[in-house]
Structures are given as structure tokens and as C-alpha cells.
């Protein structure tokens, strides 16, 4: 579930941080769900435990997880604004790259409408 890419340019702790947020957004992890212990995850991914701890510390700092002494780490009440901000961050990057490569904003809007239509939702 927490697979990471060792060869990636992104630091492992950051990959793990993003992974947890992703799993929350996708609904795989919900409020109160327990995360694996630092030790269990370090053994599972065979990466240094300090790296895992760093990701957990940052997740806790940002209110995404909370930990109870002796019991472990748990998913906090999901913050929908934070989740949306996270998704929109990736969106902004993709839009910037598209605009730089000469795609017009009109074409991008049209594309959004198409995707929305295919999803069965509406773009309003």
C-alpha cells in the first residue's frame, strides 16, 4: 500500500508523506485508521526507520495524523481544504506546463469539460 520508488528524485520521506495524503483522498484511509508502526513499515519497505519517522513527524505536524503514546499513529479527521489544495497544486503545475508548451487556456477548459462529461459529472 505504501510502495515507494527508491530511484525517484523525490526524497523517500516526502514520497511517503504524499502517499498517505493520496490514500486519504482516495478514501483508502479514513479517520481513525491506524497506520503501521515505524518499525513495521521500515521492515516492510526495507528503508531506514529514521526516514519513516521523519514522514510521520511531518504528517503529525500538519495535522494529518495523530499519535497516541504506546498505541500508534492514526489518521486525523480529514481536512478537505488541505486535500483540495494538494490536488490543485499538481493541477497548477500541469496547467503551467501546458500553457508554456503553447496549449491555449480555451483548449484546456474544453478538455476539463470532456473529462467531466466522461466521469458522468458536470462541470458547473
Amino acid at each position: 500500500m505504501f510502495d515507494i520508488d527508491i530511484n525517484s528524485r523525490t526524497p523517500i520521506y516526502e514520497q511517503l508523506y504524499r502517499k498517505v495524503i493520496e490514500l486519504i483522498i482516495k478514501g483508502v484511509l479514513g479517520e481513525g485508521d491506524k497506520l503501521p508502526s515505524v518499525r513495521a513499515l521500515a521492515l516492510d519497505l526495507h528503508v531506514n526507520a529514521n526516514t519513516i519517522q521523519k514522514a510521520y513527524t511531518l504528517l503529525e505536524r500538519d495535522g494529518i495524523i495523530y499519535s497516541l503514546a504506546g498505541r500508534g499513529s492514526f489518521i486525523a479527521k480529514p481536512d478537505h481544504l488541505l486535500a483540495q489544495e494538494y490536488i490543485l497544486g499538481d493541477f497548477d503545475k500541469a496547467v503551467t506546463a501546458a500553457l508554456q508548451s503553447g496549449i491555449t487556456s480555451g483548449a484546456l477548459c474544453e478538455r476539463i469539460d470532456t473529462i467531466a462529461a466522461n466521469q458522468g459529472g458536470d462541470s458547473q
Partner: protein
């Protein structure tokens, strides 16, 4: 903590280490990277007291390690060659080390031995290279020293067994705060296991930093400047520490040190029309850092 203080070591005319300062904090997993002959094995052999330093000091928890039994008992060294034990069986190897390391745990040895399933009563000379390594690694972990040094330790071990060995090390790090120092050419392995790494070249330390901070510290830039007629050189960007500068057609390929923003600002006067930045992988950092020192992979191209 393990410390090298302005440590120098020569072999005849060859200066293997030249006034090296290094601190390896307790509980860390420390990676030693470097070109062949850079001094990695020399550092490990100094840290476990096999070599005496010629200049400077080598300390374990503040005590000189050379000729110091109490300090040496805190360290287990896994050599890059295990040939000296070939007439021992694994059982004899275990009993041999058990005499020297008071912390040796039969219980841990049994658990590790159960995972690798090596024949206990066959001579190590009948073992394959990878099996010999496994034998010495499990013996080393079972000695329960606070420090474990591994010189190219994963050499010859198959991929499944590598994961098992890594898990054994991570387990010992979590359970009892084992400090591990690993020298390896396998940068993926260093990347997984270590939190800190030092790069050595010709007996000097080129850098020594946390791997996480290292990853954002050097960038690969692909850029096109507004004035396509002009030939830019590295000298046109004096504010930037450049490791590599090349041009193909109108695209400049630059490897520069620094955070993304710093690099963008330094390039801004040349008005880049396109400017893509990606952080380097550990392997790229290794190659470009050494290229900057004249150790260049492009000599054969």
C-alpha cells in the same frame, strides 16, 4: 559516536587518507561512497582498530580504538573478503567470535540462522561467495555490538537474501539503536538504508550530509536563453556553482549546486525562455561531483 580527527593514513608512497575529519552519530545509518581507491575501506579498518592512524585520532565514544580491547568490543567489522575463515564451519565461526564479544546472543543468532538456513556444520570453503557473506553477517549482527561496519557487504548476495539482510539490519537498528556504517557502490542500497552519506575521493571527504537534504541540493537544468546567437559559458554565471556546462544546438545542459530558486535567479539575467529544473538522483550526484574533480566518465565515449 565514531570520530575521525584529522586522520591521515598512508601505505608506502600512497596517501590513502589525508587529514580527514568525520563524525558518525550514534544510531545513524551512515553510507560511505567513493571512487575506487578513495579511502572507504581504510576508514572502516581504522574505525575497527585494525589500522593505527598515522596522524590524528580515531575514536569510539571518545576513546582511541587502536589497541583498545574495550573499544574494539563495541565494533564488528564485516570485511569485503571473508576468505580467512574458510576452514571453519559456521558453528565454529560463531563460537570463535563469541569468545571476543561478551554481548553475543545465541537467541538472536538462532533467529537469524533460521532465516538464512545455512548448513551449520559444513566448512565455509564449501559455501558460495554469497553464503559466506550471509554467514559472517548473521554472526556479526548476533555479536550485538553497538557499531557494525559493512564493507561492500551485499556483494554476491542474491536479491531475496539482500532484502532479508536489510531487514535484519533495520530490525537491529530499531530494537537496540545499532549504528551501521556501510560502504558500497550500490547507490540504491545506500539510498534505502542510510540517513547520512559521505562522498570520498583520493583520501578527502568531498561532502558529508543527510541524504534528504542532498537530494534537493544539486539540480540538472535544461534551458534556452533569449539571445540564441550568443555563446554562453559557465563564466557568464558567476553567482552559480556549476559542476557541468554543455550545449547541444540551442539547449544548455547545466548541473548546478543550490536550491531551485537560487539557480533560477542566477540564470535570470540571461533571460531563459525555457528553463526546466530537476533535482539529481544520488547516482548523478556521485558522477557529477567527481567529474568536477577530474574523475570523468566521458574519457571513454
Amino acid at each position: 559516536m565514531m570520530t575521525l580527527q584529522t586522520t591521515t593514513k598512508s601505505f608506502g608512497e600512497f596517501k590513502a587518507l589525508d587529514a580527514v575529519d568525520l563524525e558518525i552519530p550514534t544510531g545513524s545509518a551512515f553510507g560511505l561512497l567513493g571512487s575506487n581507491g578513495a579511502g572507504k575501506s581504510t576508514i572502516l579498518r581504522l574505525l575497527c582498530g585494525i589500522y593505527s592512524p598515522e596522524g590524528g585520532r580515531v575514536l569510539i565514544d571518545g576513546e582511541d580504538v587502536y589497541d583498545n580491547v574495550a573499544a574494539k568490543q563495541k565494533v564488528f567489522f564485516i570485511n569485503d573478503e571473508t576468505i580467512q575463515f574458510s576452514h571453519f564451519t559456521l558453528r565454529q565461526l560463531k563460537d570463535f567470535y563469541k569468545q571476543f564479544y561478551p554481548g553475543f546472543s545465541e537467541e538472536i543468532f538462532k533467529k537469524l540462522e533460521g532465516a538464512v538456513q545455512l548448513p551449520m556444520d559444513k566448512k565455509l570453503s564449501t559455501y558460495s561467495k554469497g553464503m559466506k557473506r550471509q554467514a559472517i553477517i548473521i554472526t556479526g549482527i548476533a555479536c550485538c555490538t553497538p557499531y557494525l561496519l559493512l564493507d561492500e557487504a551485499m556483494d554476491g548476495i542474491d536479491p531475496t537474501m539482500r532484502i532479508i539482510v536489510k531487514r535484519m539490519l533495520i530490525d537491529a537498528m530499531c530494537e537496540r539503536g545499532l549504528t551501521v556504517v556501510i560502504s558500497s557502490h550500490n547507490l540504491k542500497e545506500i539510498n534505502e538504508m542510510c540517513d547520512t552519506a559521505a562522498l570520498l575521493h583520493k583520501g578527502h571527504i568531498i561532502f558529508n550530509r543527510q541524504l534528504d537534504s542532498l537530494k534537493g541540493a544539486v539540480h540538472k537544468v535544461q534551458t534556452v536563453f533569449a539571445d540564441k546567437q550568443r555563446e554562453y559559458t559557465a563564466e557568464d554565471f558567476p553567482g552559480l556553482e556549476i559542476l557541468h556546462f554543455a550545449k547541444t544546438q540551442s539547449i544548455y545542459h547545466i548541473i548546478a549546486k543550490g536550491e531551485e530558486e537560487t539557480i533560477r535567479q542566477a540564470l535570470a539575467p540571461a533571460e531563459p525562455v525555457v528553463c526546466d529544473l530537476v533535482p539529481l538522483t544520488l547516482e548523478e550526484i556521485f558522477i557529477y561531483e567527481l567529474e568536477g574533480l577530474g574523475y570523468d566518465s566521458n574519457v571513454f565515449a
